[in-house]
Symmetry: C2
Subunit: 317 residues, 2 copies
């Protein structure tokens, strides 16, 4: 009878040992590649899979003081590139034997801190904050405990104490800005999260260096309105080009339609994007600056893995 009504219990190492007629220690050694006679080896292996033994990761974590887990906290999965980031982290780290604890805080700072606290209880071996906004004092705990922690595409203060990873936008951005000038624009509006110290600082730098007049608008502020930005831009003396992230650009495009503003005749839209796929299909010439976030994810994963195996990384990129 494979189904008994005895209280359900998963087989433990002790069961395997008993089944193989050896001590727990020997069973453990076999399963972890320690020293053991070929005979013992065979019998333990047999017992293990006839019982369907599955080691208990929590017991192992407790004893080994290493959990093989990494916490990944997303400030918002909707932010550009978050998905690619996640995909590439998952691939890299899973393959190296780590399990990812993942949480999305949907733009809520308090929730972010709660998540981090939970990661501490779960004793993650490392922490990756994607697009963090403002991290509370709970972060200090990671630092104090010496838990490898990094921020990717950080915006604003709060994660300043962490090694930072950001995509290198510089070359693409400079080319795009040059093109704007070439096309005769002299006044642009920038709708990029995080302000001048945020993940898009390369863009700001290029803009500042270009001599163009720049309006800064925070698309994440509570009362941001695409319609309003459009209205301001198309008004006399307004910006003739708008730089933004991809989702914001779409929002603006929508506003432009509604307001009967022609793109790019009246206003040009330039998206700092990681998804050229769709932009290319729009009849509307929405230019895009492409960033490869899959590659960035890989870089972060690599850095983390080497950190976990010994040496901390440089403080950025």
């Amino acid at each position: 009878m494979s189904l008994s009504n005895a209280p359900f219990r998963r087989p433990t190492l002790a069961d395997v040992a008993r089944g193989a007629g050896v001590s727990i220690a020997t069973a453990s050694r076999v399963l972890n590649g320690g020293v053991a006679s070929p005979a013992a080896r065979a019998r333990v292996d047999a017992a293990a899979d006839s019982l369907g033994y599955i080691p208990n990761a929590h017991a192992q974590s407790l004893r080994r003081e290493r959990t093989m887990t990494i916490g990944v906290a997303f400030f918002s999965l909707k932010l550009p590139g978050a998905l690619d980031m996640l995909e590439s982290l998952s691939r890299q780290l899973d393959d190296s034997g780590y399990t990812l604890l993942i949480a999305d805080t949907a733009g809520d700072v308090a929730r972010f801190d709660r998540i981090l606290a939970r990661f501490l209880e779960r004793r993650v071996d490392a922490l990756i904050c994607v697009n963090p906004h403002n991290i509370g004092p709970v972060l200090d705990r990671f630092l104090a405990d010496g838990i490898p922690a990094a921020a990717v595409m950080s915006r604003g203060r709060g994660a300043a104490q962490l090694p930072l990873f950001g995509a290198d936008l510089r070359p693409a951005v400079e080319a795009a800005v040059a093109r704007l000038i070439e096309l005769g624009h002299s006044h642009v509006s920038a709708l990029l999260p995080g302000g001048e110290a945020g993940p898009f600082r390369a863009v700001w730098k290029a803009l500042r260096a270009s001599g163009l007049a720049v309006d800064a608008v925070n698309p994440f502020s509570r009362d941001f309105s695409g319609a309003e930005v459009m209205a301001r831009a198309s008004a006399r003396g307004g910006a003739s080009a708008i730089i933004s992230t991809y989702p914001v650009a779409l929002e603006l495009l929508r506003a432009a339609r509604a307001a009967n503003v022609a793109v790019p005749r009246d206003v040009s839209l330039l998206a700092v994007s990681d998804d050229p796929g769709v932009a290319e299909l729009l009849e509307t010439p929405l230019s895009a600056i492409e960033v490869d976030l899959g590659a960035l994810g890989q870089a972060v994963a690599d850095a983390m893995l080497t950190w976990l195996s010994g040496d901390p990384p440089a403080r950025n990129t």
Copy 2:
């Protein structure tokens, strides 16, 4: 001195107990809301946060035989709706105290099984498979162990043994098909993953019922080519409309451009989508059937939570 060079050790419950001058048992009781005198309560609380005590979730899991974790395996995060699904699951389940172990298998069936095995070692309290393709025998283990497990937007065999959750496409689909007929189409091509038993079975059903001639093409087969499908459709006697998922529709649109096929004059494209946001911006009339996956995610989360607190769900939707 807050920084000593003694070997680093996180404070344990024993440290808290010592600090408060009580036994470990009492400390534990205070921290978990068991019986304890007000006096003890105060001193333990004080000791706990002066030491910065953080309970070890693994020790707790081991003892309580409950991990407060849920494994979520994505067959592919790139599939339509996966992101919304993830967001909504994360929100719901995190708020209920569960931590999510998340993995993306990037379309690799073998990797999927490996992930599931890892979830078993980690003793997840429940399992959610998003868009699973073909799950191996490892799934039986969840069933046998009585671990709540469900499939969302499943396609194909393999997850057939799980309670299934799928969006209800019926109303939207029927309207769309009716519209196709009204526009005079009589021959359509369907490029939907999973075949007639897959997540889009509502679409198939509506098509069958409509009396239209239907070509079935699997967009996930190794040698699928958008160009070829387009060529076949625009040839004499080909389909005059193509139904597909959103990403496939974009692919086809690209092919159409390349082949100089006008959409929708020569061929109509109909996308079964969860992302109307972008489609609406295309000049090309790519019609869309909208599905609310955020809501589906919420439904799944709810079902899981009630399952975890006692009663298993009906077998689908």
